[in-house]
Structure formats: C-alpha cells, structure tokens
Symmetry: C2
Subunit: 283 residues, 2 copies
Amino acid sequence: MSDRKRIAIVGVGLIGGSLALQLNEKGLASRLIGVDSNRDHQKKALELGLVDEIMDLDEAINNSDVVILAIPVDALVKIMPHVLDKINNHVLIDMGSTKSELMSIANDHPKRGRYVATHPMWGTEYSGPQAAVHGAFENTAVIICNANESDEDALEWTKNMYKKIGMHLLEMDAVAHDLHAAYVSHISHITSFALANTVLEKEKEDDAIFELASAGFASTVRLAKSNPSMWVPIFMQNRENVLDVLNEHISQLRKFKSCLEKENYEYLQELIENANKIRRIIK
Amino acid sequence: MSDRKRIAIVGVGLIGGSLALQLNEKGLASRLIGVDSNRDHQKKALELGLVDEIMDLDEAINNSDVVILAIPVDALVKIMPHVLDKINNHVLIDMGSTKSELMSIANDHPKRGRYVATHPMWGTEYSGPQAAVHGAFENTAVIICNANESDEDALEWTKNMYKKIGMHLLEMDAVAHDLHAAYVSHISHITSFALANTVLEKEKEDDAIFELASAGFASTVRLAKSNPSMWVPIFMQNRENVLDVLNEHISQLRKFKSCLEKENYEYLQELIENANKIRRIIK
C-alpha cells in the first residue's frame, strides 16, 4: 500500500517550493497542489514544475489529504481558523518560525488533533518560488511543537515526511520553541540587518568601502538580504523573547567596547576565548 | 628567464601556509623556506609539505630573495625593524590586517623601498599550518598600501605574485585601509564573538539551546571561532576605528530595540528594507 498522498502546499515560495521539490523527489506525493495569493508566484511555481496545479485555498483543501502551510507567520495566524474549519480528516502541518500565538489560536478548535505544528530549521536569505532549491532541509533539525496534542496518525505521517527528506526530529513545547528560536535564529537576523545598516551608512560618505569586503564580512551579513515581509511578523510575534536576547547581545557588545575604551586587553582576550567555545557547537 | 625566487615565509600558519601552497602550485618559488617560532608548527609545516625547509629568521633572510611576513600584527611591528636592517636587495612583503602602526615604523628606514605593505582580504576562522588550504586567496581582493613608497621592482614582483594566485589588486593609503578594514572585516569579528557569548551565556541555564542551531546562526557566528592571538593585536592597533564602528553598530542595534519596544513595525520594516540594500554588494 502506498503512503503517497494528495498534498496541498499553501505558499509556494522558498520554503513551500523547496518542500515541493523534496516531496516529488522522495515520492511522497501522488498530486501536488499549489496555493498562493501572488499571481506571479502561481505562474512561476507551475513554470518551474514545483507543483502540478494551482487552486484557491478551499478547492485545494477539498482535493487533498494533506495541507501544508508555508506562509509568513502573520498570514498563518490569520488563515489558521478558516483552515481548521474547512479540513476533515486531513493532516494539517504548518512550517512557521514562531509557535506560541499560533498554538493559542488552534488549541481549542475541535480539529486541533489533525494539526501538527512544525518548524524546520532551514532557510536561505532568498524568497519566492525561484528561490526553491533541490536538497533543501537535509541534515538539519525540525522541531515539532506540542506533539501530544496531535492525533497519532497525523503526527506519524508528518514525522515520516520529515525523516524521508533527511531531517532529524526534535520535540519541544511552543513556549520553549519560541525562546530557543530567538537565540539561534531570530537574533542572527537582527545582528546581520544592523551590521548591514552600519556599513551602508558609512558607504554614503565613502563609496569605496565595499571594495575590500571579505568572505568573513559576507558570512556575517548574508542574512541581511532576508525578506522583511517574512521577518517583521516573526519579530512581532516573538517580540518579548527577541527583545530579551537583543538586550543581552547589546550588553555583550558593550563589554567589547569597554575593553577597547579602557585598553583592557586581558579581558578582551578572555571574551574571545569564551566565544571560541562555540567550536563545540558549530563544526 | 624564470622569475622563480627563493622565498622565505615567516609564520607558516593559516595565511603563510596557504600562501606557500599557492606559490608552489603557481611555480613562483624555486625554494620555499619556512620560519616559525612554534616548534610544532615547524614540524607540521614540513610534514604537510608546505615548505622545503625550516630555518631561523636571519638564516632564512640570507638564503632568500623574497621575505614574506605572515604573522600576527603585534609580532609584525616587533620584528619589522630587525628585518629591515637585515635585508639587502630582497623584496619584503607583509600580509598583516592593520597598516598604520607598521607604516610609521618602516617609513624612515633606509630600506623602506624594498618593502611592500599588503593585506589580502582572505582568511578562515581556523589557524596553524594544518589550517592551510589549497586554492586560498583566489577571487578576493588584496590591498597594497602606500605603493608609491615601494621600489618599482619590488612592487611589480609583489603585484605579479598576487595576480598569479588569482587576487585582484587595490591600492590605498594605510590610514584609509585601517578605516575600511574596521568596517568590512574587524567589526564582523566583534559581532560574531559577542553573538557567540550571548548564546553561550544562555546555554548555561538551558543546555538544549543549540539543538536548533540553524545554518543562518552558523553563518553569523562562524567567525567567533577565530584565534584571539591574531585578533587581540588587530583590535589594539586599530582601536580607534574599531571603537567608532562598534559605537555605530550598537546604535544601529538600538534602533531595532526601540522599534520592538515601541511596537513601531513600520520603522522596523524600513530598517530591514535598508539592510536589504546589501544585496547590491554581497552576491
């Protein structure tokens, strides 16, 4: 018996499009339906062969067994109640970067069990269907939130899908997820945006500044290319955690500042040695 | 007629070792002599075939046509007067990340003309001879500082060497170099060290924090693995520029903080849109 399903992907951009490629390649879909509010994205997704056809949301739900939401988190909280109302025995999965607000919306719905809340820790700084890439998600973590609130069959199908595309599974409650995501994903984007603005500000008076840009600079500033329509809603929904981490980060930067001001190079050495401990984590 | 030279590389770590591999592969050296104060590095450099032999500094100068200094900038300013005293008709090149202090030392020396001050904008977060890699330096910029103070033949040989290993040349005075390097290299290291410390601090109370670490986080925190014995001296010598950029960076981060505190998401959107302009620069 095949476990291939009719799958509707809502949002055929970077995340939804890359997932579509994987679902195809791993033989998980008997039919792939794309839903997108942006007409250019609809066309592009068909052109690139990411999905077999485009439908509107309700029609896609009626013609699928699995509905996967891969849209910005502000759109996610808006359509979630409607999608929960419309589904029957579907598996419903979201791929959003924040979870607490979404959970509070889904929690009391009679269809809560059909829904599996997930966050694959994968992305690039690009967006739209043309940003979809083959081999996405492989060898990275996917977090499943509040798994015990999902029906067993929905949870199993979702876990199997993520395993088949090469991800390793973690389970966590939504509140812990949002805190952790602030530390290992959201703050990186803010530091990168702010670093870009720092250097772009200087460039106004000195247009040669980028001629020297090194690979190290490119690495730290890469995320600054990320799309604001994805990231503003993430920062809104995870505001308190992000603010906490940002305050801590600014106070860490102030330690470097103070070392330089006071010419305290022993402490500067210690700060850097401590930072080197990240070698344990990031290979 | 061959332009192969007897070349002494002082410091056979990441930079000196990677250069040695390139000089060999591009046929620029008739003989490669390594100098290193660290006995383990001496052995490792021979073992890895980075250099043909190890000598002490004075012996290496006596047996070479070209002397290349690839050591941390604090060691660089210390040995520079001695090396200038010892060389005859050599080409002397340094590869340091800061230039103003070094220039003030070399400027009045009778051998100033033999010296070419350079900064290849290449590196990785690793160090030592075992960190040397093939194909290093290719397709990145090298800055030559105060080129008009170098003898024409020394300058030509140096430019030719960097072109042969695939770098593109920029010329700049030392003061401008140090300012620019603070913006497109030195500050990236400070933000990365501080970000590592931010997250490592949190890990003390919550050891699951890194299970979610994404590729985006890895990218922004990669430089935090960099060696303090290289970076403390850079920050010391370029203290004022680094402090200026760090102050600007903290004030840029405060704008993000203020947006979140005041829930001013329109301005947050603007800040991110502005940061996106980095797309022009970083492909």
